[in-house]
């Protein structure tokens, strides 16, 4: 494969190239998810975000999510690119593209991908508000991993 389906980049992400990566004659449906920087979270106003990643492991984990999807939804193709560094409001943080012969799998696999990214991919977000800043750990609000590591499907 000359192009990588799973990438971490430090520049703006374009959606069309990801669509191209998953396009094929068997596909009848392509779904994309575009995660953008939202200005307001409840009553807190975000000024900008900073994303950090453990890049080589993050790429591996994205590919692992791709493998999980392949086994759950056969005959799908997935591409994911996540951006790191400073992002302003409305900037694109992540794009997920899934192609499939039929639409149901394209929706389901896409949603699965974003849920898994938020669980297992070593990427961190620092929120910068007008009156402060903080690293965000989504999982602090969730069930801790009983085994000390997230469940990775083989």
């Amino acid at each position: 494969m000359t192009e990588t389906l799973f990438d971490i980049v430090d520049h703006p992400i374009e959606v069309e190239p990801l669509i191209k990566k998953v396009e094929r004659r068997e596909a009848g449906a392509i779904t994309t998810f575009i995660g953008t920087v939202r200005e307001w979270t409840k009553d807190k106003k975000t000024v900008y975000l900073e994303y950090q990643a453990y890049v080589p492991m993050a790429k591996k984990m994205l590919a692992t999510i791709g493998d999980e999807i392949q086994s759950k939804w056969p005959n799908t193709v997935v591409a994911i690119t996540h951006r790191i560094g400073r992002l302003d409001i409305s900037d694109v943080a992540v794009v997920i593209a899934v192609s499939s012969p039929h639409r149901k799998a394209a929706y389901e696999a896409n949603e699965y991908a974003i849920e898994r990214i938020k669980q297992v991919v070593p990427i961190w977000k620092k929120e910068h508000w007008e009156d402060g800043e903080s690293w965000i750990g989504d999982q602090l609000e969730q069930v801790p991993y009983p085994t000390g590591k997230p469940k990775i499907e083989e």
């Binding site: 938020k118 991919v121 070593p122 620092k126 690293w135 750990g137």
Partner: protein, 77 residues
């Protein structure tokens, strides 16, 4: 020697993004405990550990030359 990578708030609390540890054949749990006491870190229960870019269990043993990363709860997406 073990190379230890730090991210997010851990990086800021320790003040470094990378450490070198002389211990070898140490469990992930002990490595975590040492880091916590050496740098007086807040609770580490939620912090995961990877060894050579794979998530590891608390009882896994880290060897000379391994790259360990302390992974706070992730928040990508």
């Amino acid at each position: 020697m073990i190379k230890v990578l730090l991210f997010a708030h851990l990086q800021e609390e320790v003040g470094k993004h990378q450490l070198e540890v002389d211990d070898t054949n140490i469990t992930v749990r002990n490595l975590k405990d040492n880091l916590q006491s050496d740098y007086q870190l807040r609770q580490m229960d939620q912090v995961m550990v990877s060894v050579n870019e794979e998530y590891a269990l608390e009882d896994d043993v880290v060897h000379d030359g391994d790259v360990v990363a302390f992974i706070p709860p992730v928040s990508g997406g």
